[in-house]
Amino acid sequence: MSEQKRAGKLIDFEDVSVSFKQRKKVTEAVRDVTFSINEGEIIGIIGSSGAGKSTLLRTINRLQTVSSGRVTVEGKSIGELNSGELRKLRSNIGMIFQHFNLIGSKDVYSNIEFVLLENGKTKEEAGKRIDELLKYVGIEDKKHSYPGQLSGGQKQRVAIARALANNAKILLCDEPTSALDTETTEAVLNLLKQINRELNITIVLITHELDVVKEICDRVVVMDEGRVVEIGDVYDVFTRPGSEFTKTLIRKENRFVIPSNVLENAHGKIVRIDYFDENAERALIAEAIEEFGVRINILHGRIEFIKKKPVGVLYISINGEPVQTRDALKYIRENSGKMEVIRDA
């Protein structure tokens, strides 16, 4: 991460709690949340459904008022803004949604025009800006289409154009790719990355797809039952989760297991190696074979990249003299991120 990206706090949550009272039932959707979002970063929010992610996100533009605590945006405590100031704040914070939320009775042009006119632009200024925006998000040809005539990916592009119309500094995204297929997700994520990089827009993104976080986020916040249970650099959180909840969440998605027939047919000890950081790039297996004269067979493996840094899982079988095998294992254990003996035969 570049230094410039850590320019300073843009959004600040201080002991933020939100509770909903419905008849006798009280739901504490967000509990005592305290953390900051830095200017220029892409920060992800993950957690199970009902964890309070959307509620927390909505406190940033006061679509949701807090029950206690304080949300500060650019140094201003937003709870104290009057309605005019609040509208001004909102025009600087774009928001996109899972279901796009375009105005069905208006075409693409009018959808974007509405928010421009609402913020004091003239029709001519709006027209120019709309052309610019549609070009930027790559759907100039859909200017006069109605939302009903667009694909999911195109709708999200229109929504992004609308969200950026008034030169937003912050973009709030609530599950922006959850209604899209894999390919379209990829394209929309690339657009978000581009927006972050080129326009220096800070992005706060909720998702339940861990791959989305791995792909574009700098940092990630993990929420469980209204609380923030973990926050950190994406690579660190995914390779060395600190909380039990995060471990479970990651494991659930990472159901990377070795097929049972492979296990049955393999001889010797079977070991699972997780490697990350500088270890991921080492020729660990080759070193072990050379050093200890053991026979190592790779049974199953995978490597992926989080923020361009590798994370790997490898299943190997290892055979040889007991002493050498033991030493080889010790060597691997010391030089990999994590090692686990699956079958000790």
Partner: protein, 222 residues
């Protein structure tokens, strides 16, 4: 049958005019009032706008009360008020007041439902862009609800047509009155049948106009 038709032709035309006058006038006013009522109910129940439960409960209660009184009784109850508003206690004009009030209360609730059906996500999106609430209501909610509103206006028109058939009781005339006086009091079965046929045709006509409007609106967009 043909004979009696010629005989009462003038009366039928007059009755048709009276029915049209009562229905259309009260419908137009009721739609305007009802949209207002529906908007107030909607705005005071929507957290993203100006939720205000006490106001909502009071106005909702009044609308429900009016809707729960049978129209015949409402009409009689309104006679003195009609006299004050339109200057007469009898005739089609006098019926306008209760007819409009009943229709406005009825349509107000339907309009509220039309507004509530507007996608909350869309509302959220435009409010989060910094739009004024009043603009959100008039430039987004109303246009978004238009198809549902037209459907509910159609339902209201048919209901008002039905209510107007009771206008005879206070000398309001109309097709319902004709059917009652000739068909029931004078045992002229043919007149009654003609009146019933006319009412059926009118209802079909209103429904068709409503459906065609919806279809025309649907063609654009979505």
């Amino acid at each position: 049958m043909l004979e009696s038709f010629i005989e009462i032709e003038d009366k039928l035309v007059k009755a048709l005019q009276e029915t049209a006058f009562m229905t259309i006038t009260s419908l137009v006013i009721a739609v305007i009032l009802g949209i207002g009522l529906g908007l107030v109910l909607y705005i005071t129940s929507e957290p993203l706008l100006s939720k205000n439960t006490p106001v909502y409960e009071v106005i909702g209660f009044i609308a429900n009360t009016i809707s729960s009184i049978p129209f015949l009784i409402l009409m009689i109850f309104f006679l003195p008020i009609s006299a004050a508003v339109v200057g007469t206690k009898i005739g089609s004009k006098a019926v306008l007041v209760p007819l409009t009030v009943a229709a406005a209360a009825f349509f107000g609730r339907l309009a509220e439902a039309s507004f509530s059906d507007v996608d909350k996500g869309v509302l959220e999106a435009v409010i989060s862009s910094g739009a004024r609430k009043s603009h959100v209501i008039f430039k987004i909610v109303l246009p978004e609800a238009r198809i549902s509103l037209i459907k509910n206006i159609t339902v209201t028109a048919i209901t008002v047509l039905g209510f107007s058939a009771m206008a005879g009781l206070v000398g309001g005339g109309g097709i319902g009155d004709l059917a009652y006086r000739y068909g029931y009091q004078r045992y002229k079965k043919e007149v009654m049948i003609i009146c019933i046929l006319l009412l059926i045709i009118l209802v079909q006509l209103v429904q068709t106009i409503g459906d065609l409007t919806v279809r025309a609106l649907n063609k654009r967009g979505r």
